[in-house]
């Protein structure tokens, strides 16, 4: 930019600091995950066994799938805090239908359709009312949870042993949920990076006014994206009920915040337009490793909550370091 041969040497020295690959949050996250694994493994060798790592992966599948929905929303400048209730409502409806003797296939179909519809409703309200999605979906969270409570009457509902394949089945020895989460990660990455739809989402998240003035129908795009996220949540919900076999209305409790945490840890921002699916998935893995590692080390679940909180704050601060450093 500025040709000033005299100052060149000085310039290089000043910009040295951190090498570029270290400033990349995704890479940084990968290093943290490896280091944490080494620490957990050296304290308790059982952590680094193949069996345990597989268990970690199993544990994060529902979170992993649901986080793809949250990432899509955040990157497009939205958010959905009702996804936990959507999972609960969908699970409750599936079990209720099955317990009343409905066809299992039909129950699954309806159970999947409910989050899709919820997402659509969220999208319509967010785009047409021009209200802050955080507040709208916070309210909808109560609406869906309330519906789930009304339907379930607060009781434990059971799948009666039906539909175990998605949550417990294996294909060539690989657990189904793992296959689903991996497929979803690649599919979401593909969607965001290689499709016009994904590009428009990113642009809308980056600057909604710009997207509008570039001829993008932002209302329709938002509704589509909330609906699509609802479908992803529907899938997460199916995996969850299939694995658990019986559910309460609060089956999805906490998913809205844990998906948010995973995405933020992965480098997705609240402002939209930023973040990658690779980073997001590493965020999910980090959460899974911390939970499993602390379990293995016999740390109480109370401390685990504390640890997750600290990780989120550290992640946000780290991702903001660049701004501070530029002062």
């Amino acid at each position: 930019m500025m040709d000033n041969p005299k100052s060149d040497g000085q310039l290089k020295k000043k910009t040295a600091g951190l090498p570029a690959f270290l400033r990349n949050q995704t890479f940084f996250l990968l290093i943290v995950i490896v280091l944490l694994s080494i620490v957990f493994g050296s304290i308790n060798p059982r952590f680094l066994t193949w069996r345990n790592l597989l268990a970690v992966f199993q544990q994060i599948t529902v979170l992993g799938i649901a986080t793809m929905a949250m990432a899509l929303l955040l990157i497009s400048g939205g958010i959905d805090l009702s996804i936990g209730s959507m999972i609960g409502l969908s699970s409750v409806v599936i079990c209720t239908l099955i317990m009343r003797g409905s066809n299992v296939g039909l129950a699954i179909f309806i159970g999947f359709g409910i989050p899709v519809f919820c997402g659509f409703i969220n999208g319509v309200i967010v785009s047409k009312s021009k209200c802050v999605p955080l507040i709208v979906t916070l309210g909808m969270n109560y609406v869906y949870y309330g519906l789930a409570l009304v339907i379930s009457q607060g009781l434990f509902l059971s799948m009666k042993g039906n539909f175990q394949f998605l949550g417990r089945g294996r294909v060539f020895g690989v657990p189904m949920p793992m296959i689903i989460v991996i497929v979803m990660v690649f599919a979401t990455h593909f969607l965001l990076t290689y499709t016009k739809y994904g590009r428009r989402l990113v642009a809308m998240g980056g600057n909604e006014q710009l997207a509008y003035l570039s001829g993008i129908n932002v209302d329709r795009l938002k509704i589509m994206n909330y609906t699509l996220s609802g479908a992803i949540i529907g899938l997460a919900s199916l995996v969850l009920v299939s694995r658990l076999g019986n559910v309460l209305a609060n089956a999805g409790e906490g998913y809205e915040l844990r998906t948010l945490a995973a995405a933020i840890i992965g480098g997705v921002t609240f402002e939209g337009g930023r973040g990658t699916i690779a980073g997001t998935f590493l965020g999910v893995i980090l959460l899974g490793i911390v939970q499993n590692g602390l379990n293995i080390l016999n740390v109480s679940s109370y401390f685990q909550t504390l640890a997750v909180g600290i990780i989120i704050v550290v992640a946000v601060v780290v991702s903001n370091l660049e701004k501070i450093r530029n002062r």
């Binding site: 930019m1 500025m2 000033n4 100052s7 000085q10 310039l11 000043k14 910009t15 990076t193 290689y194 499709t195 016009k196 739809y197 590009r199 428009r200 990113v202 642009a203 980056g206 600057n207 006014q209 710009l210 997207a211 509008y212 003035l213 570039s214 001829g215 993008i216 129908n217 337009g273 930023r274 530029n326 002062r327």
Partner: protein
């Protein structure tokens, strides 16, 4: 640089200040002196180091080396708090006012006047604000909420606010950028008045004419260095000297456009009404033509374009394009019809700053590619072609546009519409906040586009720009097209007299 007899009247002395950002040497060995009660203008292209220097004075940036002597005391660096307590105040271009609060509340925000119950003393707040307003001889009601004021009214509030701090040093960053011609004169008088009170003013502006009018001294920044300081320039100062120093070579005082052949009418607006009581708007646009739209800020120029482009609803009116009537209800409609809009505010509405040059370029024209899936390699090749054609200076097509200079950012916006291959381009203030060199490049590109048969509508507050580029100029006042000027009629005097309503063109008010 001149050696002065005494250092008594030196309020600020900056010695050998340097500052480096990753990849950029922003300031290199800058020395600068501010005398008591002088108006010291700083000029330079964008990226010349003016803003960085100001940020060092306000304490929001720390210099890597050098020394600041302020009121005779030496500092390695300042903090925002220290800077304020040394009496340094800045009036920024951006809005720093709270829109819902009144003028008086804004003036004393953060330093509220309290009564002896420790509650805000509104009477005193209003009284003190009124005193400052009176001393400036401007017309402003301290009890009006700021959001109800015009943009220039808000600028005055900023000036009042900064004076409430009783500064010794007032830094004004492009204070007239938001003003129309009449108010600019007022602002300039204010600045002179302020300096007469013994306050030293550092005045940054791209408008060289106003600088020659008020400056006691002019310092020229280029590539992070001070290249020259002119003493007592006066009204007759040769501005081309400044331009030469800023760009390092002599640029033609203003861009001269090659006239090109203008074709048939391609676009026609008939009886457009924005509101029930607003006047009807009619105009035509020809192939290969640059149509200038002149008018004061607030004359309704921008509103006209917003409605045309489909951003705002309209009451009635027809738009004809190549002999066919088209309906426009949204930007989507106008883009599909082949119209592109380059907005006035690049950062707010023109670019997604965090996204790459590629993503910013292709966003409006993704449908140029078939199917739902993008071929990123093809896309990159396409964008690289525009980078080369428009000479966009970026290290890579993947660079986030926030790292580009204003001129290059504007070229990215332009590339977007060229990629979309629209036939009609609407520019709202095409060169706002762009340095002299890039301005000329943008003018050249606009001219080339017209030669290639594109039609251009250009709203501009910069008369030289309008006059140099336009084949025809329509002047807007109070939402009405007052007149249309052709060829020789396009002069500064004509435009100004119509825009101010001195010449009425025989039309009577409704």
């Amino acid at each position: 640089m001149t050696i002065y007899r005494s250092e008594d009247h030196f309020i600020v002395q900056a010695h050998h200040i340097s500052k480096t950002f990753p990849g950029v040497k922003a300031l290199s060995d800058v020395s600068f002196i501010l005398r008591e009660g002088e108006i010291h203008c700083i000029v330079g292209e964008n990226g010349a180091g003016k803003s960085t220097f100001i940020k060092i004075l306000t304490g929001s940036l720390r210099p890597d080396s050098g020394e600041l002597v302020i009121h005779g005391k030496s500092y390695k660096s300042l903090t925002p708090y220290l800077s304020q307590s040394l009496g340094i105040q800045v009036i920024y271009q951006e809005n720093i006012l709270v829109p819902q609060m009144t003028v008086a509340e804004n003036v004393f925000v953060g330093r509220e006047r309290l009564n002896h119950f420790g509650l805000i003393d509104y009477k005193e707040t209003i009284r003190l604000t009124q005193t400052i307003i009176d001393s400036l001889k401007i017309n402003l009601d301290p009890e009006t909420p700021v959001e109800k004021l015009s943009p220039s009214g808000q600028q005055f509030v900023k000036i009042v606010k900064s004076l409430a701090y009783e500064p010794r040093i007032l830094i004004m960053d492009e204070p007239t950028a938001m003003f129309n011609v009449k108010d600019v004169e007022m602002v300039l008088n204010l600045v002179k008045d302020i300096s007469r009170r013994g306050i030293s003013v550092i005045y940054i502006s791209h408008r060289l004419e106003e600088i020659s009018e008020i400056a006691d001294r002019i310092t020229v920044f280029k590539d992070g260095q001070v290249v020259a300081t002119h003493e007592n320039p006066g009204k007759d100062f040769d501005l081309s000297v400044l331009i030469r120093e800023m760009v390092g070579r002599s640029v033609e005082a203003f861009y001269k456009k090659d006239r090109n052949t203008i074709g048939e009418v391609v676009f026609e607006v008939k009886n457009l009404r924005l509101h029930h009581h607003s006047p009807e708007i009619n105009f035509t646009l020809k192939k290969g033509e640059i149509l200038g739209i002149a008018g004061l800020v607030g004359s309704g120029r921008t509103e006209m374009i917003r409605a045309l482009f489909g951003m705002d609803p309209k009451i009635s009116g027809e738009v004809w394009y190549r002999g066919k009537r088209i309906t426009i209800h949204s930007p989507q409609d106008s883009i599909q019809a082949g119209i592109g809009l380059i907005t006035e505010d690049r950062h707010k509405t023109g670019l997604a700053l965090n996204l790459s040059v590629i993503k910013n370029t292709t966003i409006a024209g993704l449908d140029q590619y078939p199917g739902p899936i993008l071929n990123l390699t093809t896309e990159k090749t396409d964008v690289e072609q525009f980078i080369q054609e428009l000479d966009i200076k970026t290290p890579s097509p993947y660079q986030e546009v926030r790292f580009l200079s204003g001129g290059n950012q504007q070229k990215v916006v332009l590339a977007r519409w060229l990629f979309k291959d629209v036939d009609i381009l609407i520019f709202d203030e095409p060169t706002i906040g762009i340095d002299v060199n890039s301005k000329n490049e943008i003018y050249k590109l606009m001219t080339e586009l017209a030669q290639k048969g594109k039609s251009i509508i250009m709203i501009s507050s910069e008369l030289p720009e309008l006059i140099a580029l336009s084949d025809r100029v329509i002047v807007v006042k109070n939402g009405r097209i007052i007149t249309e000027l052709d060829d020789d009629e396009i002069t500064e005097e004509n435009i100004i007299s119509y825009a101010f309503g001195v010449t009425d063109d025989g039309q009577s008010e409704e």
